[in-house]
């Protein structure tokens, strides 16, 4: 089975095919509005993600170019505003299984201007997208703290899409070392 099949085969995924086709045709009108990042599933091939075949034996490897393509696709040509997103993560992670990360977004958190969708991506993970966070103005402050997995030393990229259509991007390199006894 090909690792990167571009053919969604189940009915639930045909909408993705339609959107992809519409975008390729230059008009993303299937929804009656401009397509947004969260219409797409950037976690890779959803068939590979969710429906593990009974005897899958191939190893999923990270693909840096694919991860960077995902980041570019989320940003979609917009010019990122600097200084909006802060990522706090250790320089060297104790263990790749639990890397503590704090994401802070500088935003007025009003009904007109708040971070609608914040992506966390690790560029050297087999599935680069780690999480997506959807804030509302009721949050008061756009800040999350989590623990994520990283397979190897890589940049952590946070892309914050604001409700105004603006985007903020920040990157932080985290070293994930091979442990003593691994």
């Amino acid at each position: 089975m090909a690792e990167k099949s571009d053919k969604p085969t189940t009915g639930a995924l045909s909408r993705r095919r339609l959107l992809a086709g519409a975008a390729a045709g230059g008009a993303a009108l299937a929804l009656g509005r401009a397509a947004r990042a969260d219409d797409y599933d950037f976690s890779g091939n959803p068939f590979r993600d969710r429906f593990q075949t009974f005897r899958q034996t191939f190893r999923v490897e990270p693909n840096r170019q694919e991860a960077e393509r995902i980041v570019r696709a989320i940003i979609r040509g917009r010019t990122p505003i600097p200084g909006v997103v802060t990522v706090i993560a250790p320089d060297i992670a104790e263990n790749g299984a639990a890397v503590p990360v704090t994401i802070k977004i500088d935003s007025p958190m009003t009904a007109d201007d708040y971070p609608e969708l914040v992506h966390l991506i690790a560029l050297e993970n087999p599935f680069p997208e780690i999480a997506k966070y959807r804030f509302t103005p009721a949050c008061g402050v756009a800040e999350v703290t989590l623990r994520c997995r990283m397979r190897t030393s890589a940049p952590l990229v946070v892309v914050a899409e604001m409700s105004t259509g603006a985007v903020g991007v920040t990157e932080r390199f985290v070293e994930v070392t091979l442990g003593a006894c691994s």
């Binding site: 993600d49 009974f54 959807r134």
Partner: protein, 133 residues
Amino acid sequence: MAARKDQKRRLKIVPATARKGDIVTVKTLAEHEMEPGVRFNPETLVVYPRFIINKLICRYSGREVFVADWYSGVSANPYLAFKLRAEESGTVEIEWVDDYNQSTFARAELTVVDAAAPGGGDAPGGGDDATTG
């Protein structure tokens, strides 16, 4: 495969009693192996299928205020902390949804006192960890 029934969910609001307009921190912790779907049995080389919590929804007094979509890169026993502006006294409910659409919940009370009242008196609040499991 669904999650074991006794897997814990923890929720804590810090502080549990706040003045109107203050920012409180909501801390959540779920017990879940978060099998990423890339690990494999070294003898048979069969990959353990993915099984994670893929969504966390926070509702404050019934309104959805924060949603997190998770993928396999989130650590096992996932921890998530975020902020909330204290508006009215109400229940903060966290829902964890896993790959099989099974939901688990944790609820805690947030008590909001009037900004004008100094100290707020002896307001009862959900000061302890609200844990279910």
